[in-house]
Amino acid sequence: MITINLSMALVVGALYAVGFYLLLQRSLMRVLLGIVVIGHGANLLLQLAGGPPGRAPIVGDAPPEAMTDPLPQALALTAIVITFALTTFLLALGYRSWVLLGHDEVQDDIEDRRVARRQRPAGAMEEESDAEPEQRAGADQ
């Protein structure tokens, strides 16, 4: 049986696409919004995983067979709170970055760039690159 319909799949897909796009930006704030949006998409997907709409799973209010699947709701609720918590944290990180650096953009790693710029080994094992020719000749024997 089909539990996830096309329109909802489209909404989920669009949320992921927008989220992924924002995730790939340099501003930490946009990255954060991307994460929030993907989180929304994931929670919606989780809820949809439970099956088609139905009555709220409250015993007494509805017959059991008409109820929606309660487990994904519980899981999604947990996930929502977790996403919220991490969002807050990342927001604080962005704020601190702004305070320290004057911007909240994600910079490239300095050390990585340093390695990438190096054309040749900075002195292989042991200052080999600057070994005197005589010494090499001696070692050639």
Partner: protein, 509 residues
């Protein structure tokens, strides 16, 4: 007995709650932290013995049998990893307390450190013990969010970038994890791992492959498998050394553990073997080459960490009793040794005032104790006999050699990257411990204000790092019983029967 299974999770959590409340008292915080971890270590040892004798021990949370309730399962694998991890967390905690005392005196409390540290341990314990996919997600979140706080604590301008990289990549992987959970539930209607073992088997092959590969990617990010590893060398080295030691020792291993658990229990089909082999090769080679390109001691160690993840992945790829047993043994060894190396690196940078190996020298003369303390884990990591690294590597090589030409060829890559590891270590030795002694840089390294050379190595810190090195030695000495346990653990994992029966009852067979 089943209550004991819950305590490794709940005790650190309780400890965290209490350390938040007692955050004004340094002594109380430290006492709580150490007491909790000692208790967990003892518990883990008891669980290991019990699980080895009687099979997996299950705690049904709330008294609800799985899959209604959440089951915590201590089987040989989980109990073993729990024990080793706790020994490492304990040693690292003592080290960082010593460091704090050395830097700021006995009275200064570290408000957020202790709760976060204990919660990280909670997350790790829960990840090992849980028999539920969603709880695994929660466990990862506890562990990771605590790690976010630890890695960004007091970040400075030059370090905040690495914190962002770490947090963002981890959050991305968490969201992919959540997506995976949703898809798995949508397909099967359960999140209990033992239940999933049966349900996933009934899915169409193609769909099962999609889910299995998604799992590989999700846990591959956490485990830093090439090409999903980039974040690790950019972030770990920039944390304070005890934190790096903890992360390097534990967090990637938890990712590997999750991969191992799901690959064996839920997706035991052969489809991803070739893929995993290739990933293992790439991880070993790229990590080892990365290490050779570095001048920063911590980055060098981080790349080596990546390289050795490849070893463990190799064992999973081989996917027979020998391979899985080799991976488990390697995880046990590697958790210990990698943490030790980062602790020692912390001592070295503390003494020299720099992380750049080009600016160090002559430490063998000025700090011979440090030289010995570095040499032991360095040789262990390089797999020089008779250390634990050799034993674990041997187990993997045997698995590779006994499982066909392709895996034997990858065993050759294991050997080659082992040589590169030794080369990297020899280079550190030559640059840092040999040569002419350099005075400690008293003015802060311009690139890195967290490293200030004090020229001293406080004895308690050395003792903490040394005790971890001793654990590493003990693993080598006890290789006999240990390899027997890992062998039995691997049989359990591939059999799946004992685990499923323990969680779901007899009818699951």
């Amino acid at each position: 007995m089943s209550t004991l299974v819950t305590l490794p999770v709940l005790l650190p959590m309780l400890g965290a709650g209490l350390t938040v409340i007692t955050s004004r008292s340094a002594t109380l915080q430290r006492l709580i932290g150490i007491a909790v971890l000692i208790a967990v270590a003892v518990l883990a040892a008891v669980l290991l013995v019990a699980a080895d004798r009687t099979g997996p021990i299950v705690a049904e949370m709330g008294g609800w049998a799985a899959p209604v309730g959440i089951a915590l399962v201590a089987d040989r694998l989980a109990a073993l990893l729990l024990l080793v991890s706790t020994l490492v967390t304990l040693a690292v905690l003592v080290y960082s307390i010593d460091q704090r005392v050395a830097d700021y005196g006995r009275e200064t409390p570290s408000t957020t450190f202790h709760p976060m540290y204990l919660l990280l341990c909670t997350g790790v314990s829960l990840a090992y013990l849980t028999g539920d996919l969603f709880t695994l997600f929660v466990a990862f979140e506890i562990m990771l969010s605590a790690s976010y706080v630890l890695i960004t604590r007091r970040t400075s301008a030059s370090r905040i970038r690495s914190g962002m990289t770490y947090v963002t990549v981890s959050l991305t992987s968490s969201l992919l994890f959540l997506t995976m959970v949703a898809l798995v539930y949508a397909a099967t209607g359960t999140v209990n791992l033992a239940d999933l073992a049966a349900q996933v088997g009934e899915l169409p092959d193609g769909l099962r492959t999609v889910l299995a590969l998604l799992v590989v990617v999700v846990f591959g990010i956490k485990a830093a498998v090439v090409p999903l590893h980039f974040w690790l060398p950019d972030s770990y080295p920039n944390a304070p050394s005890p934190v790096t030691a903890l992360f390097a020792g534990l967090l990637t291993k938890v990712g590997l553990y999750a991969l191992l658990r799901t690959q064996t229990l839920v997706f035991p089909q052969d489809g991803s073997k070739t893929l995993l082999l290739w990933l293992a090769v790439a991880t070993m080679v790229v990590g080892a080459l990365g290490a050779l390109a570095q001048n920063d001691l911590n980055r060098l160690l981080s790349f080596l960490l990546v390289s050795h993840i490849g070893y463990m992945l190799f064992g999973i790829a081989v996917f027979d009793v020998a391979g899985i047993a080799g991976t488990v043994l390697y995880i046990v060894h590697h958790i210990t040794v990698q943490a030790t190396l980062f602790l020692v690196s912390g001592l070295i940078t503390r003494r020299t005032g720099t992380v750049s190996i080009d600016r160090m020298g002559g430490l063998a003369k000025t700090a011979p104790a440090l030289a010995v303390l570095f040499a032991v884990p360095a040789l262990t990591l390089a797999g020089i006999p008779p250390t634990s690294g050799f034993v674990a590597k041997l187990a993997l090589l045997q698995a590779g050699a006994g499982s066909g030409v392709a895996t034997a060829a990858v065993a050759g890559v294991v050997v080659a990257s082992s040589l590169l590891t030794l080369y990297a270590m020899a280079r550190v030795w030559v640059r840092v411990f040999w040569g002419t002694p350099q005075p400690p840089l008293s003015d802060p390294d311009p690139t890195d204000e967290l490293v200030v050379g004090t020229g001293s190595t406080p004895r308690p810190m050395v003792a903490a790092a040394g005790s971890l090195a001793a654990v590493s030695v003990a693993i080598a000495v006890a290789a006999g019983p240990l390899s027997a346990v890992t062998g039995r653990a691997a049989e359990d994992l591939l059999d799946r029967g004992p685990y499923r029966t323990a969680v779901l009852g007899e009818e699951a067979r």
